[in-house]
Amino acid sequence: MNLTTNLTGLELKNPTILAAGILGTTAASLKRVMQGGAGAVVTKSIGSAPRTGHPGPVVTEREYSILNAMGLPNPSYREFVSELALAKGDVPVIVSIFGANASEFQEVARGLNDAEPDGFELNVSCPHANGYGASIASNPDAIRETTEAVKDAVEVPVWVKLAPLTNIVEMGLAAQKGGADAVVAINTVPAMAIDIESGFPLLGNKVGGISGPAIKPIALKCVYELYSALNIDVIGVGGITNWRDAIEFIMAGAKAVQIGSAVYNDIGVFKDISDGVARHLKENRRSLKSIRGVAHK
């Protein structure tokens, strides 16, 4: 069964993609995910200066979910250029980038151009790093300006990763207006947990974002609405752990799906999911294209 997908001009051998923030700081970890069968990979979010991120705990596991507040640790685009060059090869490598404003996003994108990433994903939606992401996430003008600024600076596809708990269609339209080639929905959902014995919040940053199966229905609704309203590709992400989830997102309108938390159970989850999707399509004599968006009845 042919699962090749043309996503914003990139040829993917299958529509599963490593989500931003999971592994992805080094070429070696990206390569390992590629070997696990991913059709493309997104790096950890890269910014303008080195950051070690928030104090720990940076994750706490909950039933059906992972709560995290990593705090955008990254070595800066200057350091990441060499890593990116090493990661390039087998499948498209998309660099997730973040910044405090449109010009900082542009600076980071320009700085990474030399290493020739296959695309950029703009993290305008990290829920737990002060001054980054969240301040842009619900501001359509900022999303449009940021997208335009990066589009002006690069020749490769630009995806914009949107936050839930916003007027996501308005944000998606703003990204489209700014020239985005695709939107990615959704980032983690703002969340927290408290240790009732000590009374301390369970994350070092106190608040963070939740990912995993708990947020799947939220992500699915966002993808569904964006597919209806936008003319550009929609990439679904949020709680996809098996092939059934992937089919569900494609039926909601996703052209490809990103997988993050499920890597916790199995780093080879990408192959399992694409094999499952292929099997399902073959058994039902359908194609990826024929099921995309069928839930819009």
Binding site: T26, S29, G56, E61, D195, E197
Partner: protein
């Protein structure tokens, strides 16, 4: 796995720079496995277990300094045991430890003795007072000591002691300590055809502890120290970053 709150029951000063914190919970674990220790309101750091109910800690930074200020009766959070520990094989094994890295080797020596495996431990430290768990190794088998200043045992590095041994006597080598020391052990193991039989406990910047954040991945395999390790065999470390560099919290390379 969620953090469990445990109470510190006793604190033992092992050396001028290390303390063992005994806890009111005993973990079913394999020597070499670690726990993420949450010092409330400060940070969460990986620590290897030195007993089923204790961690042995060297004061090196903010988090360990905060831990050192705690007293018996105070609470900390613990996630674990995490990762993969040492795999015991053979009838005669060699342990090579340096500094606070000796901590996970002591319970390994005890486990080996219980399985009637003959243990030879080579333990190094800067000086006599920094030697850790000497009695535990003595009770579990044969021990040789090296100190940089010669205040006890051989004057020099533990590697010099290793290189005087006939390694063919052993069916396994287990090492934990400074990475320069361990990479020399790997070299010696390589030269004697024992790469696969040598196991090393790696120290890397572990943030999440569950294999998702990627901060501890090693080159070029992408193996995660927090989840696929922290114990690796020599075969897995050949031609890797081991002994050359590691990464800081931001992902930048730091030469070893």
């Amino acid at each position: 796995m969620m953090a469990t709150n445990v109470r510190i029951t006793d604190i033992v000063e092992e050396t001028p720079s290390t303390k063992t914190f005994f806890l009111d919970a005993s973990l079913d674990y394999i020597p070499g496995q670690y726990v993420m220790v949450w010092i409330h309101g400060v940070d969460e750091i990986p620590m290897s277990l030195s007993y089923p109910n204790a961690i042995t800690v060297q004061k090196v930074g903010d988090a360990t300094s905060a831990l050192f200020k705690l007293k018996a009766g105070d609470r900390i959070g613990v996630r674990g045991p995490l990762g993969n520990g040492f795999v015991l094989k053979g009838k005669s094994i060699l342990l090579v430890g340096g500094g606070v890295g000796t901590a996970p080797l002591a319970p390994l020596a005890e486990k080996a003795k219980n399985k009637n495996i003959s243990v030879k431990a080579l333990i190094g430290a800067k000086t006599d007072r920094e030697l850790l768990f000497v009695e535990r190794f003595e009770k579990s088998g044969d021990i040789s000591i090296a100190t940089d200043d010669g205040s006890r045992g051989y004057k020099g590095t533990i590697i010099e002691v290793v290189s005087k041994l006939d390694l063919q006597e052993f069916e396994g080598i287990y090492s934990c300590g400074p990475e320069r020391m361990m990479s020399q052990v790997l070299n010696i193991a390589k030269n004697t055809g024992m790469t696969r039989m040598a196991q090393f406990s790696l120290h890397r910047y572990i943030k999440c502890g569950i294999g998702v954040c990627g901060s501890c991945c090693i080159d070029p395999s992408g193996l995660r120290v927090c989840r696929d390790g922290p114990v690796f065999n020599g075969e897995q470390l050949m031609d890797s970053e081991f002994g050359k560099y590691m990464r800081d919290g931001s992902g930048r390379r730091i030469l070893i």
